[in-house]
């Protein structure tokens, strides 16, 4: 009984439960015939939300007001620059990956420089850098789509042991993030800062260094996501990051992390990412009009958050 209670008190459980329910409702339409294809697609596309979701989760954990709005522009710039550099050549893959990481590093540093040096609130700071980054992406390649190198395109779209490669990569990153968050001093520092920055400072936590590292981590994950997404979908496009701004924040919240910061969990990101993809697939499958589809999506998200937070409040 105690074990069951402990399980039910896990905030991430509800996003998985909702994702499973939606999955069942969707495959029911074809009496189960679509289960393989749908699972495959859900794992693949959830992976992209997981990368940005984890980055955003670290930032949100830093406490109220911390959010990175430069994620979409960052993805666009990293994808554009890396694919242009690789120019479909397999031999250029390593430089392509390095330049992606470099783009992420620079954007993360720039974001935190604005926040710290100019004392601009994170929302405004990252929004302004996103304008600069988006303009840089337009200027780099004027929206032209360059195809990824064939080896990368194959890797991004194929599976290993029936699991999509993208999902495997995302799983690897998730495990690393979980270890970082729960089993390193860095993870403890982030949580401490999120719960109370003055208290963390008094306790000797290197607040600035931790916040800087967190913004850089988020920017690098967004850049990697832009790189992978453009390899997966056959090229970078100027508007490719658009839906990942709200997505990155939504999966954190639905996954059961505290919006006010200080308390977060990695598994919930997966449940929420799968749920976000499956909801749209389910409503498309049942042929809902676009208006109803958005209303339903909103209602389902609210329901999941309510159930999750209600369960979480009592055991504390």
């Amino acid at each position: 009984m105690n074990a069951l209670n402990r399980l039910l008190s896990r905030p991430w459980l509800w996003s998985f439960a909702a994702a499973l329910a939606v999955w069942i409702a969707t495959v029911a339409v074809t009496a189960g015939a679509s289960s393989g294809g749908l699972t495959d697609a859900a794992l693949t596309f959830a992976a992209f939300s997981v990368f940005v979701g984890i980055g955003q989760m670290f930032v949100i954990t830093l406490g109220p007001g911390n959010v990175d709005l430069s994620v979409p522009a960052n993805m666009t710039l990293a994808g554009t620059v890396a694919l242009k550099l690789m120019d479909t050549q397999d031999s250029m893959i390593l430089p392509g990956i390095l330049v992606t990481l470099l783009v992420g590093l620079c954007i993360g540093l720039a974001n935190y420089a604005l926040i710290k040096a100019l004392r601009i609130p994170p929302i405004i700071a990252t929004l302004s850098t996103s304008f600069i980054i988006q303009s840089a992406a337009i200027w780099t390649n004027r929206g032209l789509r360059i195809k990824p190198p064939p080896v990368l395109a194959d890797f991004a779209t194929s599976s290993t042991f029936f699991v999509p490669n993208m999902a495997l990569l995302a799983l690897l990153v998730s495990v690393l993030a979980w270890v970082l968050l729960n089993h390193t001093i860095f993870g403890r520092w982030i949580a401490a800062i999120g719960q109370s920055m003055p208290a963390a400072r008094m306790a000797g936590v290197p607040v600035d260094g931790t916040r800087l590292a967190t913004y850089v981590l988020c920017a690098i994950l967004a850049a990697v996501n832009g790189f992978l997404l453009s390899c997966f979908s056959g090229g970078a496009a100027l508007n490719m990051g658009n839906e990942y701004l709200l997505m990155s924040i939504a999966v954190v919240v639905i996954g059961g992390s505290a919006v006010a910061g200080g308390d977060s969990n990695v598994p919930g990101i997966w449940g929420a990412s799968l749920l976000m993809f499956l909801i749209v697939s389910m409503l498309n499958t049942y042929q809902f009009e676009a208006g109803y589809r958005l209303i339903m999506t909103g209602l389902i998200i609210i329901a999941v958050i309510l159930v999750a937070s209600g369960r979480q409040a009592r055991p504390r």
């Binding site: 294809g37 596309f45 929206g143 056959g234 508007n239 498309n284 676009a290």
Partner: protein, 336 residues
């Protein structure tokens, strides 16, 4: 004697110069554009730049400056138009963020004696001209094509654009009207692809497992390649996918055509429509009688014109046509 000859010669030269230079040589035209964040809009701006630079160099107009708002917001664009009024432009060519929300600013411009020509994203303020696209006809033309390509009909998957934008409703209405008139076709599913390859790919991948066999995919442009990727990833046979003139779509079509004789067609609006609007504005400034509502032809690519169009389209760009002064005159004459 010599003085008179010289005077005569000067007069002759002056009259020649006047004939070559239209009455608009001192006029300034501005482009008010609401969005630049995709390849179609980038091509639109480049076409504007190329054609108007030449027009300025030839002395047809004094200036043709392009301005794009950062946030794709109607309020921002209204403020931009008000600035253009203050800067003393003679004509404003506008691709509007909203068909209604700019009406106040447009009316102010008209009242200040400025010619306003809207295109692509048109405005419904009566004092402005509209260079509109028959989006409904474009949607219907897809079904017309499929009628010939698939005499037995079949199941259709519809990829729509961005929900809530009138262009999406218009193209979809045309498609569904065509389907209603041709009962051999059945629309078995619709998803929103936001005119973006990656969004379309994601949406199609999600609905595809639950769909029966699909004979054709009807689209709105910018989504055909993503759809093809999703069908390939799901291991399903590739249906006829209507393309939208993007270079990656045309290139994919060409590869399939060479490999297995794949047949389809591609239809969209040429981004160079901005240059048509430019010439229409110039014609109005020139004192020509121009009807308030003009229709642009859409750019269609078929099996036999694929290679030529692919060769003319920049790598990763959009198939394009730039319009000349004569084209504009032809469109104006054709509407009268």
């Amino acid at each position: 004697m010599t003085t008179r000859k010289l005077l005569l010669a000067t007069a002759a030269l002056a009259s020649v110069a006047c004939a070559a230079h239209a009455d608009t040589s001192g006029k300034k035209i501005a482009l008010s554009n609401n969005y630049a964040g995709n390849s179609w809009r980038q091509a639109m701006l480049q076409s504007w730049d190329k054609v108007t630079k030449q027009a300025v160099a030839d002395g047809v107009v004094a200036a043709a400056d392009a301005f794009t708002t950062a946030e794709n917001q109607a309020t921002e664009q209204a403020a931009q138009i008000q600035n253009m009024i203050l800067q003393g432009y003679d004509a404003i060519v506008v691709n509007a963020a909203s068909p209604t929300a700019l009406n106040g600013a447009i009316k102010e411009a008209c009242d200040a004696g400025i010619v306003v020509v809207s295109f692509d994203g048109i405005v419904d303020e009566p004092c402005a001209w509209r260079v509109a696209v028959d989006f409904k006809g474009m949607g219907k033309s897809e079904i017309e094509y499929l009628k010939g390509a698939l005499p037995d009909g079949g199941n259709l998957l519809e990829i729509r654009g961005l929900a809530g934008v009138f262009v999406d409703d218009a193209i979809s209405a045309g498609i569904n009207e065509g389907v209603a008139e041709n009962p051999q076709f059945k629309n078995v599913g619709a998803v929103h692809g936001d005119w973006a390859q990656d969004v379309a790919q994601k949406a199609v991948a999600g609905i595809l497992p639950s769909l029966p066999e699909i004979a054709a995919v009807v689209t709105q442009g910018g989504d055909g390649y993503g759809a093809a990727q999703a069908f390939a990833a799901a291991g399903r046979p590739t249906p006829i996918i209507i393309m939208g003139n993007r270079q990656d779509e045309l290139k994919w079509w060409k590869e399939q055509k060479d490999a297995n004789g794949y047949k389809t067609m591609s239809v969209s609006i040429a981004p160079g429509v901005s240059t048509l609007a430019f010439w229409v504005a110039q014609q109005i400034l020139d004192g020509k009688e121009v009807p308030k509502d003009l229709t642009v032809p859409f750019l269609r690519i078929d099996q036999d014109t694929l290679e030529a169009n692919l060769a003319n389209t920049p790598e990763g760009g959009v198939a394009n046509v730039e319009y000349s002064q004569e084209d504009a005159i032809k469109v104006i004459e054709g509407t009268k």
